[in-house]
Symmetry: C2
């Protein structure tokens, strides 16, 4: 008798061949009971998928892959810690994969799915402007965590999304500085061509200025070099040092789009003999622990990082386990007043 094949298993179980294939390949899109039944039949009938070499190479660990753009951003360190903790609680492996700024994260994810078969994916950081067609190639559930995206994608129900409203939170901070009496607010932004949260925060800043009767001045918009990791103390320090040295623009407040940038800017101001907040008010964004411990304490927008990270994993597992559909969750940031800003 010829050995049993995939069609026999499908016939025995009363399902289609593709369903058996999904069971064997641990595709998430299969009813767990059906899968159990199929695996049982495979075992009982001693069916062996025909490419044994491929089979030996199969990776079938229960794993969640986290793809990170901007791995040096300390804000992500805390997210990653919570991800790891939550994923470990679920007894899944935590696979961490860095994506370079120039790489396409969906291509990286497609490769990873093919090779490693994670049960779910978290995209952390970066920007999503991929077409719907491209995203539909992603055959495992995924959540976009603190990622900017194009409006057209926001309505899709084929994935989840967790973030603060970067535009609104940035508006809030800029409006706060305006209400303190600042009219010349310099922004340390991301790159000029940024399409991610950097752009959203810049737009929130501009809108708040306009609503406070201040015309945005392009000279006060400082951008990072393209291709450079910009959410860093180094960027804040270097650009603020240059500005203070050149003395081309006047300003009374600096709004940095991340706390790391703000701390670098504080250092540059202090090194030049300036005082914070007497000479310059400085504000950041993120709410890192160091914002509280810095000297002076930094005025910032605190993102609820633990809750956002926990929510990311909860949503992902709800989808994996079929408990709920995809969700969009927008968290509220909190404006924390530090000693680094004052009214003028």
């Amino acid at each position: 008798m010829d050995s049993i094949n995939i069609k026999d298993i499908a016939r025995i179980c009363g399902v289609g061949v593709s369903t058996v294939s999904r069971a064997i390949n641990n595709h998430p899109d299969i009813n767990p009971e059906t899968k159990n039944m199929i695996m049982q039949a495979i075992k009982e009938h001693n069916y062996i998928p025909n490419n044994s070499a491929r089979n030996l190479k199969r990776t079938d660990s229960k794993a969640i892959a986290v793809l990170i753009k901007g791995i040096s951003n300390p804000f992500f360190s805390k997210m990653i810690r919570v991800f790891e903790e939550e994923i470990q609680k679920k007894k899944y492996l935590f696979i961490m994969q860095r994506v370079d700024a120039s790489e396409d994260e969906v291509d990286v994810a497609l490769e990873l799915i093919k090779e490693k078969k994670p049960r779910g994916i978290v995209f952390l950081g970066g920007f999503f402007s991929h077409s719907r067609e491209k995203l539909e190639q992603l055959t495992v559930p995924f959540v976009l965590s603190t990622i900017g995206m194009t409006d057209s994608l926001e309505e899709s129900s084929s994935y989840s999304w967790v973030s603060v409203d970067d535009f609104a939170e940035s508006y809030k901070m800029t409006d706060y500085l305006c209400k303190l009496g600042h009219k010349r607010i310099l922004i340390l932004a991301a790159t000029q061509d940024d399409e991610s949260i950097g752009r959203l925060r810049l737009e929130g800043y501009k809108k708040a200025l306009v609503d406070n009767g201040i015309e945005p001045d392009e000279e006060l918009c400082v951008f990072s070099e393209v291709g450079r990791d910009c959410y860093t103390m180094d960027y804040g320090f270097m650009s603020m040092s240059r500005i203070l040295r050149e003395k081309k623009v006047d300003f009374t407040a600096v709004y940095a789009i991340s706390d790391s940038i703000a701390i670098g800017a504080c250092k540059a101001i202090t090194e030049c003999g300036g005082k914070i907040p007497e000479d310059y008010s400085v504000a950041g964004f993120d709410g890192l622990d160091i914002a509280h411990y810095y000297n002076p304490t930094l005025t910032t927008i605190r993102q609820p990082v633990e809750e956002m990270a926990e929510s990311t994993i909860k949503i992902l597992f709800d989808v994996i386990r079929g408990k709920a559909g995809h969700q969009k969750r927008v968290f509220k940031g909190e404006l924390v007043e530090g000693e680094s800003t004052r009214s003028v």
Copy 2:
């Protein structure tokens, strides 16, 4: 004809059954050519290991697992970033696993090896006082990175070790403070029962005092509560605030065994109206980026974190690929003078 079995494969290849098993199970302890030959024979003769269900569950990803004790230590964030980058370059998966302070990292590793079959393991942080017998159960190559250990283990050639000399570097910092004229140097140490780098740094501090003719004063040795994550700004802040409030001890310098602790201490001093370094000199350990950007810049021991992390991965892959045996590498720290210390 009966189907081919593992003995047949062994006979065909002229190797033992256990070697075939090692090839199938991706055991690291096999010559790559032998393994290739065996896998080829398996494919040609359509041999299927007899437990197909187990086979379907096999995890055979090429992965390196990194087990971390003290995941909230920012020093490790940078190590992890470099690990991820280097492991990705080798086209291996990066599996991150946190180990709680109360957990036995070797037990966690044994479980991980059984379930996930990583090709190599990095232990990051914590302390190794495991018996040689226990370590010998670890069947995949491993490297201890920035980990304290008992002397008896140091001579073992069954694993690699990468670190600075915590005793010597701590001695260097304390000696520096003594040479600045400080005689009352308070140390913010780890827990009292610490057996890891915390103990080594404390011992280096005591030895330097003695060599400078200063009797170590137990009142100046401040310990963290047991079970608490102590390499944190929070610990530095809370303990320094308490000390300044109680006013029980006199001191002119504070040596914190990590930069995070030092920054917390600086914040407490500043909040109490103290000036650094006028009222108190403060020194740290690690050489985090923030030590440079803090206000004032922090005197610290800079560990060559990138090199240490790169070396960890290089050594691990050399062992995995049979290019070299296990190595012990001790890196040199650098005393970086900041604005936070002065001579008295």
